[in-house]
Subunit: 345 residues, 2 copies
């Protein structure tokens, strides 16, 4: 699909392209060329769109502005994404957290904690909404007041596992549900490996919390490597089935993760590098008022959420907002996605 | 001391050297030169040797054949080693296992298991006989039927901690107790970091099982790096104090260890490289008798102890010995230190 769009620019042009031109496209067999020549299956498309509208969703394509920039960069981005909820610019600052369906109390504790902490620092948490680690990653982001994206191996109108009904609604409210599979697609086994390339593709890096040696999370980690994204793995006691996969990843070069700081340390420089394309000018440090100083002292290189600053400074929210604006104007503070702030480097 | 011996060859010659020659030695201040000129403190030396004889020990020096080859290679090998028990050629195939005094059931389980398995494969286990991981490493080696060496931070006549009286005697029986400190030296805090360079210096690599962030085991790991030895660290659940140090080591490049195989895989090629200095000649595989085949099939690349082969083949010990000799003569099997055998590569 991407090659067709690259060549003919619009879907309409693809359907009107002469057979000879179509046959020149790499990877397009005779059968597919014949199907394209039949023209779009308008009834199917209309039914699909109407089903999607019914649940308040929409389709975005590789050609849309809204299509996630990071996902567009991978080798085989989906041409169409079914979306429920909202994708925001700030979701580019994303980390995927994945792991086994079968978990231990240790894995559950770690997932919720780290997901929550990352969300507090303005990181969007991406996962697959599976039972176990995935679901806990989404819940952690929500309880941390942040954003979260679920990529499904079924249609965006299929809630699987069904126990996640409540979580499903929350994610639509606080992020987005995505899928490349048509409406009503069941959660077939074969869908999940393909789905995993989108999970890693949306993020700066993948954190594998618990994984047996055959876990699908290792596939996600493999895609991350292929896509040039970071791979993080959480250690655990030797002899636990759920640590075998993560230990294998660490032996193969994944970064051992003990805390959200370990992750932020890796991804912040990269994220800053992407954002700061204009050269910095050295400016003398301006004088700060006493109140500005109090707030400035709370900050570090790592972005902090405004609510934390409000709590810790014991000033009222309006006051903190206006002081932060002053500090930003004075060039002392950087704003980050998700109402987070850090000292300007 | 090493520089003095390098220059004058024997201690006698050092004591008879003219002041002018002594002053030329790098690192020798005026005070030390004057002390040397006074001649040996014969009474002190005699008392020391008599104390050592009383407990059945002896001194070996850098100039002795028996001095551990691997230890001689480090930057600052001790000039004298007090020894109780025996040092053997096969102790060159050694791994150090160290860790915290404070342990968890997990750490204790892992230490005994891995130490026992390595000992079964003919590896001599080196440690510091401290409470906790160190003591368990020695016990593991003993229960695995192998050899073990303890390097003390006190005199070889001081049993510390005193609860290790039984272990102390076993180590003398199944390996050696070493120290560079004079007889009767108490276990002073300052001795331990120095002692640690000997632990790492004796071995191909150091395994750190559990370590807090301030553990002395991290000093041993640091020496190992300096000395060009492998560093292995055992992961554990995040949030456990005793895994902080080992996780730090892994982040800094230590190899994550889950099993004795992980360690053998790293050190066997190096050990083989050291042993196989003569070029190998390709020889056709000779015919084997049925009994030889049974034994050969039990073997792999990893050395296996003869007792295991006796047990698994259900042949009697004399039979197994003579079959192994045949296989070795036919060039099919390699013998390893500690009565272990592997397929010839």
């Amino acid at each position: 699909m991407r090659r067709l769009l690259d060549r003919f620019n619009t879907p309409e042009a693809v359907f009107h392209a002469p057979m000879k031109e179509l046959s020149k496209i790499e990877g397009l067999g005779e059968k597919v060329v014949q199907e394209i020549r039949k023209g779009p299956l308008e009834k199917v498309v209309e039914r699909e769109l109407s089903l999607l509208r019914e649940v308040g969703g929409r389709v975005i394509t590789l050609k849309d502005e809204e299509y996630p920039k990071r996902l567009r960069d991978i080798y085989d981005p989906p041409a169409l994404l079914y979306v429920r909820g909202e994708l925001k610019k700030e979701d580019e600052f994303a980390i995927s957290i994945v792991g086994s369906r079968k978990t231990t109390p240790y894995g559950r504790w770690f997932t919720e904690k780290v997901s929550q902490e990352l969300a507090r620092h303005g990181v969007t948490i991406v996962s697959g909404m599976a039972r176990g680690i995935d679901s806990l990653a989404h819940w952690g982001a929500i309880s941390g007041g942040g954003r979260t994206i679920a990529v499904l191996g079924c249609g965006v109108d299929v809630i699987y596992p069904s126990e996640n009904r409540n979580l499903f609604a929350k994610i639509i409210d606080r992020g987005a549900i995505l899928s490349e599979f048509p409406m009503g697609s069941p959660p077939e086994g074969g869908h999940f490996p393909r789905r995993n390339r989108i999970i890693s593709g949306l993020s700066l890096g993948v954190v594998v919390v618990q994984a047996s040696e055959k876990s699908g999370s290792l596939i996600t980690a493999g895609y991350a490597l292929e896509q040039g994204r970071e791979v993080f793995a959480v250690p655990g006691n030797v002899g636990t089935e759920s640590s075998r996969g993560t230990h294998r990843l660490i032996k193969e070069g994944a970064k051992l993760v003990e805390s959200s700081e370990d992750i932020l340390e890796e991804i912040l420089p990269q994220w800053r590098g992407e954002r700061e394309t204009t050269p910095k000018v050295e400016i003398p440090r301006p004088d700060l008022t006493e109140e500005e100083k109090v707030l400035y002292e709370l900050l570090s290189e790592t972005p902090l959420h405004i609510d934390v600053m409000i709590r810790e400074s014991r000033m009222d929210p309006g006051k903190v907002s206006s002081l932060l604006l002053n500090l930003e104007l004075k060039g002392m503070v950087s704003q980050w996605p998700g109402k987070c702030f850090s000292k300007k480097m």
